[in-house]
Symmetry: C2
DNA sequence: CCGAAGTTTGGAATGATTTTTAATTTAAAA
DNA sequence: TTTTAAATTAAAAATCATTCCAAACTTCGG
């Protein structure tokens, strides 16, 4: 999406757009790295040296409330964020920790066993695939 | 497993068995609540008032190193622990947060899409089912 | 029992995240 | 534009889970 359109889109959602927020939106737009708050902060800091963590966290929350950013609970040490709100699954490299995306709907295959059918009503599912990314499979 | 056997089992694994550790093992044995460290601490505290968090965390680590306890990364706010090391999946009630178990192997169904096959080598998978537990589906 | 090695403890330290504060900036109406 | 209420900012302090620490204490093999 063109930058001007991205800005318009968020303005329409009631987000006051400050230079810092625009920098964060730019950073997140199309980003598939599943950055942590700290990584967003560092990424912005280069072009926006005075930005504070509070701004990053505020913006993360504002985007989450608007469904534009999803919290990813995969790394036990910190939260990661995914600017793609479309349901999808994740690949986690057990060696380097990199998180990749899997766009495929496994819902039909993921049926609960008989004995649980009456005990839990499923509304969504999420699969984590653990293993090695191509980088770590090779030499290093 | 009988208590004496549980104790023998851990002694064989090179764990010195202190009263605190025995209390933690008793608390975890057969527990399907996926407790957090704080919940383990509180559960032990009643019978073992001087226990410290450090001991709880130390024991968690010792058990994890021996494959007897699995860290469950589902709740973004804290780590939870599962004394069942057998691979399985989880139900997460979006309302009350309760975590349940699903013993079923979905591996055959969880094939990566063609374009990812050469890019990531999967060694295991884990499915989270989100929805409502029976308790939360009804009145409350 | 003795002693070495491993444990426990309470409190301090750490690290991620959230809240607070006072000052600044914004959107939008006049 | 100018105004103004509401939102945003940076910096610092607060919070919460978790880890570290040094000293005192246990366990268990011999």
């Amino acid at each position: 999406m063109a930058r001007a359109n991205v800005i318009q889109k968020y303005r329409d959602k009631g987000l006051k757009l400050t230079p810092q927020r625009i920098a964060i939106l730019d950073f997140l737009d199309g980003n598939t790295d599943h950055p942590s708050a700290e990584e967003i902060f560092s990424g912005i800091k280069q072009t926006n040296p005075t930005i504070s963590f509070a701004t990053v966290y505020n913006t993360i929350q504002a985007l989450r409330e608007r469904g534009e950013l999803v919290e990813v609970t995969i790394d036990p040490e910190r939260k990661h964020y995914d600017p793609n709100p479309e349901p999808h699954h994740h690949l986690i490299c057990s060696k380097c920790g990199k998180i990749g995306d899997v766009f495929e709907d496994f819902t039909d295959a993921l049926k609960l066993p008989q004995e649980l059918l009456g005990k839990f009503s499923v509304t969504s599912n999420h699969v984590n695939f653990y293993g090695a990314c191509i980088n770590c499979s090779k030499g290093n």
